[in-house]
Amino acid sequence: MSIEDIQNEIIDEFSMFDDWEERYQYMIDLGKDLPLINDQYKTDSNIIKGCQSKVWVHAEMKDDKIVFTADSDAIITKGIIAILIRSFSNQHPKDIINAETDFIDQIGLKEHLSPTRANGLVSMVKQLKMYAIAYQTQLS
């Protein structure tokens, strides 16, 4: 599935909810289901700066696609990462680089997109794209 299709799927899922509480509850549940990063990758060098909670991201290449795994010590942050990873993982680096993140706004989590927000969603997106750029350079 393309990144755009996945994002549309996420938008569909969130459109079922009427208020912030249901949206957040769903995000928290997604966070709980996030495939855990292998403990060996929970290193200081894999921590994304700019988050009040700790966020670790690991990336590896499998058949020209990047597979992301991640974890956080805060569950809402984990939910946000789960949404991002579902949209970006198992994709070609080029597609990740070009991907939009407007869908975050459309699922009612706009407040997390502000660069001054302490959760560092913006830093997370930047980090995922940085990995994509690095792997793309290797490929070309």
């Binding site: 509850q25 928290i28 569950i75 809402i76």
Partner: protein
């Protein structure tokens, strides 16, 4: 007679909504809200008196200078300094600390000790670490115990004739502990050390008497006392302020300038280079007037009532732990829910219109002591209510339910 509903009418912001809910503002330890009287003073200054001070012969400049110096006098009276020139306007507490730390660069030598407490804000740690790097002095730390109190016996052991300076906050911003500063000052003076007290967290709750305390330096910020941001004060004993070299060079702080030599102005102007925050200084005076019109005894009594009420209510929640349980504390409650990150709780509370602080509160050593990433901190002011505390308790319960 103190009536919280009347007091709340002074604060326009308290009637706004956040995320569709009435604002519950419990981040007072970060900054206090501003009453209409103080907002009016800002408008009045810019509408009627705006001019540069201390140099114009014209009427406007004279009037602005008078107001600025009258405000300094108000600050002097409030903190009971002996002379008004012992009050130095700063941009805030951090500026005051840096000014003193910088001044001590020329007074310390290798092997001297300076002492900080384990309960400090980063702004009362980092400038002193920088001072140690410049001078070769050693930084000693007064330890804390599980209750969030300083271990005074350890303090006594650390003091020696090598100790030149002790700097401790009056009240911990992260835990609310009121430190026994009278004792700290007395013991430091016994070995000939000077003491700086960081009053950022105490000045909104307590009216300190710097002469009675016999403290050498006391720093505070206007924005924690219902005043504007970007202005604060440093009190220093005259003898110390004369001893310290100027911090920054520029206009206002000079007596005479030639390319060969510059002589410095007398106190307090020696430490006030450049055009100051004139409106801020004047309005700081208005904020002090406002707080005194409420009365510090009323403020302390009511805030203590809020603290006790909130502590009891919060502790009814299973798995909630409060950090900092000193018998002597102000209206700050730092807490966590077992197994839940403070950031998550803060996010849910925000959705409910409740403003609390989450994180390490610029006091990472305290978090390291408790081995936690941070806490949720609710800090109350005299314009908060028990109904708001009920809303907080309900919010924390909801957060717990959603996040568990």
């Amino acid at each position: 007679m103190f009536n919280v509903e009347d007091v709340r009418k002074d604060f326009p912001i308290l009637s706004r909504q956040v995320n569709g809910k009435p604002l519950v503002y419990f981040d007072n330890a970060a900054t206090s809200q501003t009453p209409q009287q103080v907002i009016d003073a800002i408008v009045d200054y810019y509408s009627n008196y705006n001019a540069n001070i201390h140099r114009g012969v014209h009427t406007l400049s004279q009037e602005a200078t008078d107001l600025y110096e009258q405000a300094r006098h108000k600050i002097q009276t409030h903190f009971n300094a002996k002379f008004s020139h012992e009050i130095i306007y700063t941009s805030g507490t951090t500026h005051g600390i840096n000014l003193v730390a910088n001044g001590f660069s020329s007074l310390l030598k290798k092997g001297d000790d300076i002492m900080v407490s384990a309960l400090e804000h980063h702004s009362n740690i980092v400038p002193w670490q920088m001072l140690c790097e410049r001078t070769g002095a050693n930084l000693k730390v007064i330890p804390m115990n599980e209750e969030g109190e300083l271990v005074m016996s350890a303090y006594a052991d650390l003091l020696s004739e090598n100790t030149k300076l002790v700097f401790v906050n009056h009240i911990s911003n992260a835990l609310g502990t009121i430190n026994p500063i009278e004792d700290i000052i007395k013991r430091a003076h016994n070995v000939g050390a000077a003491v700086l007290i960081d009053g950022a967290q105490s000045s909104p709750h307590i009216k300190p008497d710097v002469q009675k305390l016999d403290v050498d330096f006391y720093v505070a910020s206007a924005h924690k006392m219902c005043g504007p941001t970007g202005v604060g004060m440093l009190y220093g004993k005259e003898e110390w302020l004369k001893k310290l070299p100027p911090y920054q060079g520029g206009g206002e702080m000079i007596a005479e300038v030639t390319f060969e030599k510059t002589t410095y102005a007398d106190l307090p102007h020696k430490f006030e280079a450049g055009t100051p925050n004139i409106a801020g200084g004047i309005v700081f005076g208005a904020a002090i007037d406002y707080m005194n019109s409420i009365g510090f005894e009323n403020i302390a009594a009511f805030e203590n009532e809020l603290l006790e009420y909130a502590t009891d209510k919060l502790l009814e929640i299973e798995g909630l732990k409060i950090y900092g349980n000193s018998k002597h504390k102000t209206s700050v409650i730092s807490f966590n829910l077992e197994g839940i990150h403070p950031y998550d709780v803060g996010t849910i509370l925000d959705k409910l219109g409740i403003a609390v602080r989450t994180g390490h509160h610029c006091a990472q050593p305290i978090m390291d002591f408790y081995k936690i990433p941070g806490t949720i901190r609710a800090s109350f002011a005299f314009y908060n209510t028990k109904d708001e505390i009920d809303a907080l308790v309900a919010g924390v319960k909801k957060a717990k339910m959603m996040l568990s």
